[in-house]
Amino acid sequence: MDQLSGRIILTNIDRVPGREIVEHYGLVAGSTIRAKHVGKDIMAGLKNLFGGELTGYTELLNESRQEATERMIAQAKKKGANAIINIRFSTSSIAQGAAEIYVYGTAVKVE
């Protein structure tokens, strides 16, 4: 099986089809808190006049989700895992203009 997302298997189902879980390392998580960029905020404010998608914010949240995922992967690699199963995403707005992105899952070793 070739892995498409780097060297580690990421999935949000609770197993890896066709492979067996041989070791369980427990929960791994990654989080980032991002504040809005002033320039992007102004652009988003302008865009908000006409509604629709706010591309600046979409990019911002995508970047932070990527970063949170990378932190989770780093943690899993440190434990010696080669797959993370049962991944969940959660986002919460913790203050005006700042959002927390939290990603968590179970690090396992599959064979």
Binding site: T11, F50, L54
Partner: protein, 163 residues
Amino acid sequence: MENILELVITIVLVVVFTFVPLGLYYLVGKHFENKHFASIKQRESLYLQMSLVPSDLVDPQQKVEAMGLVEGTVVIGSDPFKRYIANLVNLIGGRVSVFETLLDRARREAVLRMKEKAAKMHADEIVNFRMETMSICSGNDAKPMGIVEVLAYGTAVRYAKNK
């Protein structure tokens, strides 16, 4: 006579400073919405072959060749016309259809972005599909709906072609 003149001036001012901008917002918003819906429909037809399943069942008959997490996000905001209508509906209650179309757009776009990522991996289906909607900028009285993020994610699965 003076009272009537005052009334006429007030009506003219209300029309010029409230309804004309609202009409403009409505037309511009509608234009972008129609354009977006047309593009959504066109792209949705491209990915009809890829099934989207909310359960975590992977076809046991076939061999899984590759799998990976895919996600799609959209951040969407409302326009002043929609907010004005929503404020009016708030008085009597009922369906706020102006926001329904907005969220419909956001959801379908998020699913499409996820499917586009899965298509890059030549995936056959997406299992354990989840959708999350989150308000990242809570609304207030002037803006009943702030900014909403829609996140769609799931596991893309590619089956081996030679069984």
